[in-house]
């Protein structure tokens, strides 16, 4: 019953999306204006129905209803509650349903509250949103029906891939999806503004909260994914430039550029065409990412059950959306008039530089990710990894971060360097000092050295916009910017430190033996079998001591899951303020020793602390923007009330 209910809700939602597109499009013609009134209510209903369908699927998973094919292939009655829940979206069909649900709810939200833009632009925006959703409805209903029943229910489900049975991962895909969907709303705003020839600061202000929200979720999603790969795969690395990782990074790069260009458009009415273009690119990158992940067209360390048919469907959607949007852009770009001008040395100039560098990094990552596909067309199998991505990304990231250090100090429109030179002496000296000190003291690679030097300078420079301000009266968006830029410095410091100073030790140790790794002494006490709800494991019991201090117990495991059968290694971590000890248990050798892999990674945790700061900065900016929007609306209502009273 529940499955059928969910399916009906999904069909109705799809039908409403069709109606929303049709009514929205017709309302723009002179004869169809009367239809405009139904667009907002339809958008709200569509979101509600989607949420009902998704709720039905959650119930099916929680009940482990094995007569539903999706549940039978992805769940298991012995799974802990949290993984039953996350199993709902831990598979292809469920994740696509989550996508349309979030998109439907976002559409409802826009329909309910957004009143700043002229009504035709809003209707075109909602029609655009319906157009994007329709593709996903078609995809779900035609080739990935999550509510499909099995003729004969099996006695037990097949389980969820053990690597995915992890709290971090339970919330990683929905976080990224929220980001992707936020960008789809930005895309719809861009389409709406283009169609109704209304690209201006009001459009940028309406779009900005969605871009900010998407960007916050993408930032959190990427760093959660990176931390998951770091401790769950047991390889000690935190970023592999794997196609699936790149698929999440590319929309983030585009969203970061969009965020900055939208703020130029909102504040200064410049970069109009460019902002619209970025809105299209950012959503395109989410679609490209989804395509790369779901089609399995590229070899990836991430184990997704993939299907070429679905890949072609997403590719078709991608071509329709992106091709359509770019055509619209080409036709209408000439109607987007040029905005305000600015001097090269100005806040706008620095933001343009940031945008160009981010686009270049995006291009480099996209090219590197797709290169194996291009060469395969000529019969040559290649893979592209860190030796390409690291230096190429750094080549554009380093100049960008240097400009990031002083860009926020520049004035809008026109400025000169002489005015801010004095403030920049300190950060510049710090950078040079760090670089010279490291060069003299340690033999480390060029990239980590540059990274540490830039991070130190940027860390100080990012705080300068607060200098001379009354901190209580500093607007939240300024705090947000400072915090996010400081977070970039923190993350960069963590990355560079990890790659410069990590110590690795690989040994086969006997029980009772002590191993040294960097400043740590690790005593291997015993090995014992342990069991969990759906796995058994061998667990090493070890005591680690930092520079002869108190011992900390760590227990890395080699786990065997039985449904589906698979081995994973559970690494053990000891976190100190200045880094992490990372231990992995391997196999037993023929003579009764155990393989251990140990790392000491100084300041590695700053990578994720920094990204939390970045996301927090985004959140402050978002709260600040929304609060001032609300204040503006309240003030406007008050004025209207007063006028009414005076009229009486």
């Amino acid at each position: 019953m529940i499955a059928e209910f969910g399916l009906i809700a999904l069909w109705l939602a799809a039908a409403l999306a069709g109606l929303q597109l049709l009514a929205g499009a017709l309302s723009l013609t002179s004869r169809g204006q009367v239809l405009g009134g139904i667009v907002r209510p339809v958008a709200v209903m569509q979101g509600v129905l989607c949420a009902l369908a998704f709720g039905a699927l959650i119930v099916l998973f929680l009940q482990t209803d094995l007569s539903v094919k999706l549940v039978a292939t992805n769940s298991h009655s012995a799974k802990p509650f949290i993984y039953k829940l996350s199993g709902t979206w831990g598979n292809h069909e469920g994740s696509m349903l989550l996508w349309v649900t979030v998109m439907g709810l976002a559409g409802s939200f826009v329909a309910l509250i957004e009143r700043r833009l002229p009504e035709p632009t809003m209707l075109a925006t909602l029609a655009g949103q319906a157009f994007v959703s329709l593709g996903f409805y078609a995809f779900l209903l035609a080739s990935s029906n999550p509510f499909e029943r099995l003729p004969v229910p099996p006695a037990e489900g097949q389980g969820l891939n053990p690597l995915l049975q992890d709290v971090g991962l339970a919330f990683h895909p929905p976080t990224l999806y929220l980001g992707y969907v936020g960008l789809s709303v930005a895309f719809s705003f861009a389409i709406g503004a283009l169609v109704t020839r209304n690209v201006g600061p009001a459009f940028a202000r309406a779009m900005r909260p969605w871009v900010l929200g998407a960007w916050i979720f993408l930032t959190l999603g990427i760093s959660a994914g990176s931390y998951w790969a770091y401790y769950e795969l047991g390889w000690g690395g935190w970023w592999f430039w794997d196609p699936v990782e790149n698929a999440s990074l590319m929309p983030w790069l585009a969203a970061t550029a969009l965020l900055h260009s939208a703020s130029v458009l909102a504040a200064r009415n410049a970069l109009r065409a460019w902002t619209v273009m970025l809105g299209v690119v950012a959503f395109s990158m989410s679609m490209v990412g989804t395509f790369l992940v779901r089609s399995g067209i590229l070899t990836s360390v991430h184990a997704f059950a993939v299907d070429p048919e679905r890949g072609s469907f997403i590719l078709a959607l991608l071509v329709i959306y992106i091709g359509g949007a770019l055509t619209l852009f080409a036709v209408r770009a000439s109607t987007v008039t040029e905005g305000e001008r600015f001097a090269l040395t100005s806040r706008e100039g620095a933001l343009v530089f940031n945008n160009v560098m981010l686009s270049a990094i995006l291009g480099v990552v996209l090219f590197g990710t797709l290169y194996p596909l291009m060469t395969e067309a000529f019969g040559q199998k290649v893979s592209v990894g860190p030796p390409y991505f690291n230096p190429m990304a750094a080549l554009f990231a380093v100049p960008m971060m240097i400009v990031m250090a002083f860009g926020p100090l520049l004035r809008w429109r026109q400025d000169n360097f002489a005015r801010i030179r004095g403030q920049l002496i300190l950060p510049a000296l710090i950078s040079v000092g760090v670089a010279a000190g490291l060069f003299a003291a340690e033999a480390i690679g060029a990239l980590p050295l540059i990274g540490l030097a830039v991070a130190a300078g940027l860390g100080v420079a990012s705080l300068l916009p607060l200098r001379g301000r009354n901190l209580r009266r500093t607007p939240l968006p300024v705090w947000g910017m400072v915090l996010a830029h400081f977070g970039v410095a923190v993350t960069l410091f963590g990355m560079a430190s990890e790659s410069a100073f990590s110590v690795e030790k690989l040994v086969a140790a006997r029980v009772g033996q002590t191993t040294e790794v960097g400043p740590w002494q690790v005593r291997f006490v015993e090995i014992q079998p342990v069991a969990g709800p759906n796995w058994t494991a061998l667990e090493a019991d070890m005591f680690a001591s930092y520079r002869g201090g108190a011992e900390v117990e760590i227990r890395p495991q080699a786990r065997s899951f039985w449904s589906p059968p698979q081995m994973t290694s559970e690494s053990a971590l000891v976190t100190r303020w200045n880094g992490q000890l990372y231990a992995v248990l391997g196999e037993e050798t023929d003579d009764g020793r155990w393989q251990l892999r140990l790392w000491w990674k100084p300041f590695v945790t700053l990578i994720w602390y920094g990204s939390i700061l970045i996301a927090l900065g985004g959140l402050l900016a978002l709260i600040g923007r929304v609060a001032s929007d609300v204040r503006r609306v309240v003030a406007r209502d008050k004025i209207a009330d007063r006028r009414m009273e005076m009229a009486k």
């Binding site: 343009v352 030796p387 554009f396 994973t568 992995v584």
Partner: protein, 152 residues
């Protein structure tokens, strides 16, 4: 200074600068990819046309039965990867993936030493029931065809 230009020109100049940088990035990326991409070899290819000694490549094939030997340090593994025609000795220091067993497929990432031994930094094996590295998938089909041809 761009500000000194007439209104019409500023947009054009900005556009040209952006396009110029992106074009430069593309060309640079293409050049870097040619020199940094890691090519995939099977044993007969790597014997026929060996890569330069310091070039990172990937070697794929079947782990020969009875070839896996762990050295005295307990963490270095030596084994032989074959494709039915040629055999390449491989050395790897580290924890092998759980599905790395004799008679099944493996992709080794690393460098071929001048003496013909492949030094692997990383091994990719089948990593769950549903997932097979794509290079291995193709090879399994290819080998299946060979087996069929031989038995007929």
């Amino acid at each position: 200074m761009i500000g000194a230009l007439r209104p019409k020109h500023q947009r054009l100049v900005l556009l040209l600068i952006a396009l110029g940088v992106l074009l430069a990035a593309g060309l640079l990326a293409a050049w870097a990819l040619r020199s940094q991409a890691s090519y995939f070899y099977v044993p007969s290819d790597i014997r026929a046309d060996p890569p330069e000694p310091d070039r990172a490549v990937r070697l794929g094939g079947m782990v020969e039965k009875g070839s896996i030997k762990t050295e005295a340090d307990g963490v270095t593994v030596a084994f032989v990867v074959g494709d039915g025609k040629e055999r390449v000795p491989v050395r790897f220091a580290g924890i092998v993936p759980s599905l790395f067993v004799e008679g099944s497929g493996v992709v080794a990432e690393g460098k071929l030493r001048a003496d013909g031994t492949f030094i692997a930094d990383n091994l990719l094996a089948k990593h769950d029931e549903n997932y097979v590295p794509r290079e291995l998938q193709d090879m399994a089909q290819h080998q299946a065809k060979q087996v069929v041809a031989e038995t007929q």
